[in-house]
Symmetry: none
Subunit: 401 residues, 2 copies
């Protein structure tokens, strides 16, 4: 759906929207099994909500394409992830509240271990703790480059953020991470003539870093990837007239939400604490993005039963959310993470949209099997969800006379 | 789905894919009947495969558009047939192993019968045998045109291939075949100013051919259509990282497959022989395109029962293919050919994709009626099939972080 068209039709309203995202919700039967994680979970509250909802399976990018969490969430928020690519460097920065300026070039860094010949023996430097990472970032911050301001910040474990600020910089620089051990790091090659200066500065940085880290163990070198600029993207307020809050505890999702102009109030780790934040701030926002990461983590761990339990835990929180009487309540995931695959997958994701004007379908169980025969169909484009949310929230004018 | 996106996400794997195409598979109830050919056929093996598959009906170009076999197969192989048009002339050449050079202009020729006034009385010259066609092609090869090399080759029966090789030639020349009897042949009109030279040369050729064939009966004239150039198209290896084999006996399909960089090993006429080739070459390829032409031929003949029998014959071959344990096994057609119409039609075509990660739907019979409620939906874009095949073959990376 064309954002410009939606923007043209936006009208103000006092309605409230909750978008509950169970990360990696979609699943798959385990080997020899018949039912997915969601089909296995006992979810009376979600099922009862489904009975009053319009349901379906949504597809983020296209058949067979496995989305990352960034693209998955962008699409749920109404933004075409093929148009708005958020690079790995920028995502890393968003996750730690780094305040980007307009032309900053960001890269995701790994501390790694190399042998005497410079061959990578561990791409993650034995997963050094975040404190060590912070200490090493401080050391590397001493590096000076002509005409370029450098920022280094720890992200988590062996991962850090590198930001270059200065004139005439470009993000079109190749990754230096060969993505496997047994090879040397790659040169930061300019992928475009305009990136020559940036590539040179990055090479200088890497050379200086090598000297500074020479005597460190195990983190005696660095790898960089995902050179990127902050995308030029209109926020939820400008795009949809929504004052939006991200009630998420995982840094990346908070950062991505902030990139879209959402506020990200402090909220605890537990679902109870997060719902408490929504209750407390109910009058302050039009749109609440409530994020649950555990479903995805369980899937990534290959733990079918744990994912089932996570879903059941979310189910038990539904009545408290419904008590707020949201005008529109959407429950879905940003992609599938079947425990059987231990990774994201391409399978379409169950979605239901509850509102008093949703013209509900016959689906009365919230799961892959049932949602496929919902009115939204078995392969509903994810970016089409937001216009439907806005319509059900009485926030869209008629098109034409 | 954008080929460039897919290409970006391709990762290597050791998985095996079989794409079984029953040409013209989709059908229609006969007059007064209730069931299509596929619904009528008794297909226990296909049905059992469907139970473990994701099913649907695919649509090659758009609602109401009847695809030719070229576009149908291009779409199945993942190439947008609206973007990659393969002209009739080129297709004719591909079918007989003609070695095209970069700027060759090809046309499909018919020997035909005209009366003394030049009016066409039989567009197919009484369907002369291929040997006569070859003999006449040899005669016409004597024609010389200034600056243009001429190639003539018999295709089948009254059909032949004409190729013009030289500088400044263009394919933008109108057909000379009026497509009906009772009319004279049309002039090879230039459809673009750049095609003036080519049009003149073709007119000279036709004039010379008229003289040479004057005393022949029944083939005393020729008709030309489908002037075309070889399309600039990336092969399956470059597009999808697949080493692909076409196990097809019908020349046009072998030629089309070779155009996409597939190897087309010699294989017999029978399904048994063709499966034997797959078994023998199982280790040499990632992707096997197995083609069955008889379903289409029966449909074109208007022989409902024969088409049913052809489908049942294919069904009996399924266990032998499954014995190879392909990671992904797709069964479908390139278009519909209902016996009732005696021609290709626009109706969506049943498709099923079997893999251990396909998240199977409830469909447990392989036919139009059942497939319409499968997860792929009732109008799945044909070109979306290949990305889904690659995903199920674990040959696609995630998009975004």
């Amino acid at each position: 759906m064309d954002l410009a068209l939606i923007q043209r039709l936006i009208k103000p309203a006092h309605t409230k929207i909750i978008l509950l995202v169970m990360d990696g919700l979609g699943g798959h039967p385990s080997e020899g099994g018949v039912y997915t994680e969601l089909e296995t979970a006992i979810t009376p509250h979600l099922d009862s909500l489904a009975a009053g909802s319009i349901c379906g399976l949504h597809q983020v990018i296209g058949p067979g394409i496995t989305p990352g969490s960034g693209p998955g969430h962008l699409a749920l928020f109404g933004y075409d992830p093929l148009r708005y690519e958020v690079g790995r460097g920028i995502l890393a920065g968003l996750g730690i509240d780094f305040e980007f300026k307009a032309h900053d070039v960001a890269a995701r860094g790994n501390f790694c271990t190399v042998d005497d010949a410079g061959v990578i023996v561990d791409r993650r430097a034995g997963r050094i703790p975040t404190e060590t990472c912070a200490e090493l970032c401080r050391k590397l911050s001493r590096i000076t480059l002509p005409g370029v301001e450098l920022f280094l910040a720890p992200v988590k474990d062996y991962r850090f953020l590198l930001v270059l600020r200065g004139d005439h910089l470009s993000e079109k620089v190749a990754d230096t991470d060969p993505l496997q051990t047994g090879e040397k790091r790659l040169p930061p090659r300019a992928l475009h003539p305009d990136a020559k200066l940036t590539a040179d500065r990055v090479e200088q940085f890497l050379e200086e870093a090598r000297k500074i880290l020479a005597d460190e163990r195990p983190a005696n070198s660095v790898l960089l990837r995902g050179f990127s600029l902050k995308p030029d993207i209109k926020g939820m307020k400008d795009s949809f007239g929504l004052k939006a809050a991200a009630v998420a505890s995982y840094p990346m999702y908070r950062g991505l939400a902030r990139l879209l102009g959402m506020e990200a109030p402090d909220c605890g780790e537990s679902m109870d604490e997060r719902i408490g934040v929504i209750e407390k701030r109910w009058r302050d926002f039009d749109f609440f993005f409530l994020h649950e990461k555990r479903t995805d983590s369980a899937g990534e761990d290959g733990d079918f039963e744990k994912k089932v339990a996570c879903i059941e835990a979310v189910d038990s929180a539904i009545p408290r959310l419904m008590h707020l009487q949201p005008d529109v309540f959407v429950v879905t995931g940003d992609h599938s993470t079947p425990a059987r695959l231990k990774s994201h997958s391409w399978h379409p994701v169950p979605v239901m949209l509850f509102s008093k004007m949703c013209r509900p379908d016959e689906v009365d169980k919230f799961c892959e099997r049932a949602c496929r025969s919902g009115y939204l169909g078995p392969r509903f484009p994810t970016t089409d969800l937001m216009p439907l949310v806005l319509a059900n929230a009485m926030r869209l004018n008629k098109f034409g006379a």
